[in-house]
């Protein structure tokens, strides 16, 4: 798998978050989403997360296999249930609410 691992240790702690972000190269919304996700996780999830980035321009077959047609798409793989959020993740509060994460103090 040639996906880039951005952050997260080899063995994340229990109840850790696992994300997969599908992007298309350097499309503006993809770049924005990646930046937003990284920052959001750093501020609110600390070390309890792992992000896998799949560039569909490099792996177009994945789009079909994983049924990802709108990019960027963020998939929360863990904890269950699986959840999909489409878009550049600009509204942090909304994203956190969907993820079930209480915003960290003074973020």
């Amino acid at each position: 798998m040639s996906s880039r691992r951005i952050k997260g240790s080899e063995a994340p702690p229990a109840a850790a978050f696992a994300f997969r972000l599908y992007i298309t190269g350097s499309a503006p919304s993809s770049v924005l989403a990646l930046g937003n996700l990284t920052e959001l996780c750093r501020c609110h999830l600390g070390d309890r997360h792992r992000i896998e980035v799949v560039d569909l321009l490099e792996h177009p077959g994945r789009a079909l296999a994983d049924r990802v047609f709108m990019t960027p798409t963020l998939v929360k793989l863990a904890p269950p249930p699986e959840l999909r959020i489409v878009g550049s993740l600009t509204d942090w509060l909304a994203v956190l609410a969907r993820l079930g994460v209480r915003p960290a103090e003074r973020s």
């Binding site: 919304s29 993809s30 569909l56 789009a63 047609f69 709108m70 993740l89």
Partner: protein, 578 residues
């Protein structure tokens, strides 16, 4: 339309849709390798049109296609399409691939996105199946979820560029509307697409009316008028498209019988094959009977015939016609064997005139009809606005002519309308033969009269004839004209009887006279005979007398010679010797 280049009509190749009429409107199909927009309200048949065209392309032209479903799931779309005859479930996933791209229900959106993922996925699939056509069904759905006019524009251009770069014949289907933001989006879509086809569904006086119009076609000429269309078992069909080039066809000089021998004589041998015949008249003037006679004659000739009845059930028509000796039942065919005659009952109130026209045409095509009877054509006038019905009637006549189908239409006509030449559908001018049936009411009777108002290209009788219906069939009789007056019905019959009696009397008197003269002749003959005999007797007597006299003379001469000898007298003179 500023971007529309000015170029000859044939520069850009076309991608045929296989849809009857639409390919004529667009002069060959959608622009090949370009983007076409199919727009219209909900339920007008955008998806059907798109699917039908790619099914045709996949099967007939070996152009695999991908169907991207934004709105409905592909399973639903396939289930809906299964009812159409052209929908072949056996089309493999390599011929027609469905891609479900509708957002899942639990999808959450935050911020802007693009369709990069979809296009990447499509690129993979297109390479796999060598797709030549792509449908984006319900593209407005995905655009609206962008929730940003600028982003919509950007994504639409991305789509357009992507499709154009790959030379894919692309169909977008989208709803249109007059309210924002649909109107703005529709305008954007119309501007971007190379070809725009609008579908409309209106209800006029309670009758459903669907029309299709090509709004724009970059780089090609096209027919701009709205054309009615129909969605039936055969899918979408566009009607009312006049073929700009009518194939040259020789006018037939073959005559076909009207089913009434004396009417054929009046027409100088019958109708021409391929002619349009109109029979008008008030109710009960035997228009249907004439139609039935024509149908029977056609079947006996071996012509596949279609009889469309608007007034009554086919079985009723057959039964009623049997009472006047027209037997159609034997031509109808049974369960196993198709007969030469196909009868169809269409209720005029169900469906628009266009619908009826299409049904009539497809029935005639199916049956390979050479003769077509429509009874009555005026039923169409009940259902719709007049202008459209007129055009339907006209197109029916033209169509029948182009197919060389002999068309027999009956039409209800009010008394006095003949003089003004105003048939309800104004088709009398384009009909080739016009037969008018009327009632003449006089002396407490109504009698049917038939006259030929016109018959192009055939000499025809100018005489009004009386139409007689009996168990043995339909006949025309000469009218009884006396003292400048035409007698019909019982009056004619009475006159005829009186004339017959008179004729018989005269005949007998003549016979008597003849006999008398014969007797006189015989008498004279006998007389002549007797005289002849007398003459013979006289001649015989005369001969005898002559003989006796000469004998006497000889005897006297001999006696004289003997006497002279005895006296020793001189020798007799030479002439005195016996």
């Amino acid at each position: 339309m500023a971007r529309q280049p000015i170029r000859p009509a044939t520069t850009h190749p076309k991608a045929p849709t296989g849809i009857h009429g639409l390919d004529t409107l667009t002069q060959g199909g959608f622009p090949a390798g370009r983007v076409t927009l199919l727009e219209g309200g909900a339920g007008v048949g955008k998806t059907v049109l798109a699917l039908q065209s790619v099914a045709h392309a996949a099967r007939e032209l070996r152009e695999p296609a991908i169907f991207v479903a934004f709105e409905e799931t592909s399973a639903r779309i396939q289930a809906n399409a299964a009812g159409f005859t052209w929908f072949v479930p056996s089309l493999t996933r390599k011929q027609l691939f469905y891609l479900d791209a509708q957002p899942s229900v639990d999808l959450v959106q935050s911020g802007g996105f693009d369709l990069g993922g979809l296009l990447a996925a499509l690129d993979t699939k297109i390479r796999q199946i060598r797709a030549r056509r792509v449908i984006f069904d319900g593209v407005d759905q995905v655009l609206s979820s962008l929730a940003d006019p600028l982003a919509e524009r950007r994504e639409l251009y991305r789509l357009h560029e992507w499709a154009s770069a790959r030379g894919l014949t692309t169909l977008l289907t989208a709803k249109n509307g007059v309210s924002e933001p649909t109107a703005q989006r529709a305008e954007l879509l119309q501007f971007m697409a190379d070809c725009v086809v609008s579908l409309e569904h209106a209800v006029i006086e309670g009758v459903s009316q669907r029309t299709l119009r090509v709004r724009k076609f970059r780089g090609s000429a096209f027919q701009e008028n709205a054309a009615p269309y129909l969605i039936g078992a055969g899918g979408l069909e566009v009607a009312g498209v006049e073929e700009s080039r009518v194939p040259a066809r020789l006018a037939s000089s073959e005559r076909v019988s009207s089913g009434v021998p004396r009417l054929d004589t009046m027409l100088g041998g019958g109708f021409f094959r391929g002619a349009a015949i109109l029979a008008t008249g008030a109710p009960g003037t035997a228009k249907t009977t004439l139609g039935g006679a024509f149908a029977e004659a056609a079947c006996e000739r071996g012509d596949p015939t279609v009889y469309i009845s608007f007034d009554s059930e086919a079985a009723e028509v057959v039964r009623n016609l049997e009472s006047v000796g027209i037997r159609l039942r034997r031509h109808l065919g049974g369960r196993r064997r198709a007969g030469l005659l196909r009868m169809s009952y269409q209720r005029a109130l169900v469906g628009s005139a266009e619908t009826h026209l299409l049904q009539i045409q497809s029935l005639a095509r199916e049956h390979a009809a050479r003769c077509l009877i429509i009874d009555p054509l005026s039923a169409l006038a009940n259902v719709n606005d007049e202008g459209r019905v007129n055009s339907v009637a006209r197109r029916l006549l033209h169509w029948a002519k182009s197919q060389n189908i002999t068309l027999f239409c009956t039409s209800l006509l009010d008394v006095g309308a003949v003089e003004s030449e105003g048939t309800p559908l104004h088709i009398s001018t384009i009909a080739d033969s016009w037969i008018h049936l009327s009632y003449v009411a006089r002396n407490g009777e109504r009698n049917r009269c038939l006259s030929i108002i016109k018959s192009r290209g055939t000499a025809h009788s100018n005489q009004v004839r009386e139409l007689l219906l009996s168990r043995r069939g339909v006949t025309l009789t000469d009218p009884y004209a006396i003292g400048g007056e035409v007698l019909l019905g019982t009056m004619r019959w009475e006159r005829e009887r009186a004339a017959e009696a008179l004729r018989q009397e005269t005949e007998q008197a003549e016979r008597l006279k003849q006999l008398k003269m014969q007797a006189e002749e015989a008498q004279l003959d006998a007389h002549i005979h007797a005289l002849h005999s007398q003459l013979e007797a006289k001649r015989a007597e005369l001969e005898f007398m002559k003989h006796a006299a000469s004998a006497r003379r000889d005897a006297a001469a001999a006696a004289q010679r003997e006497a002279m000898n005895r006296r020793g007298a001189d020798e007799l003179k030479k002439d005195q010797r016996v």
